[in-house]
Amino acid sequence: MSTQSPGRLEKILSSGGFAVTAECGPPRGASADVVRKKGELLKGLVDAVNVTDNQTAIVRMSSISASTHLLQMGLEPVMQMVTRDRNRIALQSDILGAYSLGIRNILCLTGDHQSFGSQPDAMNVFDIDSMNLIRMVLTMRSEGRDMSGFELNVPPRMFIGAAANPFADPFEYRVIRLAKKIDAGADFIQTQCVYNMDRFKEWMRLAREEGLTEKVHILAGITPLKSAGMARYMDRRVAGMDVPEAIIKRMAGVAKDQAIEEGLKICLETIAELREVDGVHGIHIMAIEWEEIVGRIVEEAGLLPRP
């Protein structure tokens, strides 16, 4: 899993380090300043920043351009790319463009269905799925060819990421799917937020048994909770999310003005526990529209300074 001009994330992971990534949602508008402000809040605190691609099917500044703004500030982006909106021709073209701009990491996703977004009237694409996208980026990188077999003058040497959800059904199949993503070409995996530690550990155990943790870097997803309401909402309404009752109760058990502190405590305990899990090579902090908290999490988890 080596690219030719590795970015920071790849260097850290391949040298056995514990990586920290965060997330930056581009604005619903054309302001680069919004991106830069978020970038400032994360600078020096994380190794790379995921830039979402029209997340939840809501139109936002493109992932490529927001990634480029971060790059110009000295941050390392992980450009997210979904197959919902672009066919294989557009995807390949954007990957070439992204690499030419200096982007070195890509996270390959299928994307949220447009019916969840603000423009459900839209036609979706889904020409290929996330698995195919992973393989496509790998072929472009390692064979230096596009999907038609045409030789690329400069191959985009991307570090390839994929998502995994240990909490979705059917559980037994989740590890098979992880194996498939690794075979397709994934170098690193970012997981759905971990609240259900038992289930996550079981998934990791199965992954270790299949030898998968030797082949891929797994970054466990973390999202700080703000309130009991948020915990309950995520558990009931967000597809593929699993927040155990004990966590919801814990959040509900403290005074409202203490909820954020309690959420942070849970978060830090989770990180400490994750660091002990064999095969977990980092964490991915998804603090949606709450980038200010990332600094505190990373610092109090003892993950500073970053290399």
Partner: protein, 222 residues
């Protein structure tokens, strides 16, 4: 079969309003089976329209006629005189039927009275489900006879996605997750290895994406 649903009466009223004499033309095959455009539906729609227009004080003459299939010339011919007698024809066939009738009667307005929705099956009385989108290159053999291109909301070839929960699709909790069904089916068939195999991107060129399709059967051409 092709499944369709009759348009709401308000919409049909608007569509036929410009005409004095209309023919409501039913089709006795697919749309009959899904209760959208067979003889019975033609009769019910005719009475409903007559009543609705009468209430509005709008004069309109409606003639009824149903043929076996609107997608075959042989049957379309049977309706020729009725089509000619009227100012317009409201076809209760699927979209293919409407167009087939229209191309035979150059000067007669042929209007759609049904929303054609999908190719599917009668799951049980009153319930139809979409099963095939006519991709032109059937791969049901590897998916345990459950079509992910049609029945997975994200057309995943290597599913399921992270949102599949308790066998239901994240996009609609009333709909089965196609990938859940595929896994169940392959498990029952002892073909779980299919799940470990990477499925390459689909060749969409035999599908509608390659442009409107034609099927020529040389052996049948006369």
């Amino acid at each position: 079969m092709i499944v369709g649903e009759q348009k709401p009466i308000e919409e049909i009223k608007e569509i036929v309003a410009p005409y004095k004499n209309i023919l409501i033309l039913g089709c006795g095959t697919c749309v009959k089976t899904c209760f959208a455009g067979g003889e019975d539906e033609v009769a019910v729609l005719t009475s409903a329209l007559r009543l609705a227009f009468k209430k509005d004080g709008h004069k309109i003459n409606i003639e009824e006629h149903t043929v076996e299939r609107q997608c075959e010339d042989e049957f379309i011919h049977e309706a020729a005189e009725a089509v000619a007698r009227n100012d317009a024809t409201l076809s209760l066939a699927c979209g293919a039927g409407v167009q087939a009738v229209a191309r035979r009667f150059v000067k007669a307005p042929i209007l759609p009275g049904v929303n054609t929705t999908f190719m599917g099956v009668l799951e049980k009385q009153g319930l139809f489900t979409e099963e095939c989108s006519g991709c032109g290159n059937c791969e049901l053999d590897i998916f345990g006879a459950v079509c992910p291109f049609t029945r997975c909301a994200k057309k995943l070839l290597n599913g399921p996605c992270g949102g599949s929960q308790e066998g239901k699709c994240e996009v609609n909790s009333e709909t089965d997750c196609a990938w859940h069904l595929i896994i169940e089916r392959l498990t029952a068939l002892g073909q779980l290895d299919n799940l470990r195999t990477y499925i390459s991107p689909k060749n969409w060129s035999p599908s509608l994406s390659g442009g409107p399709r034609k099927l020529v059967r040389e052996d049948q051409v006369i």
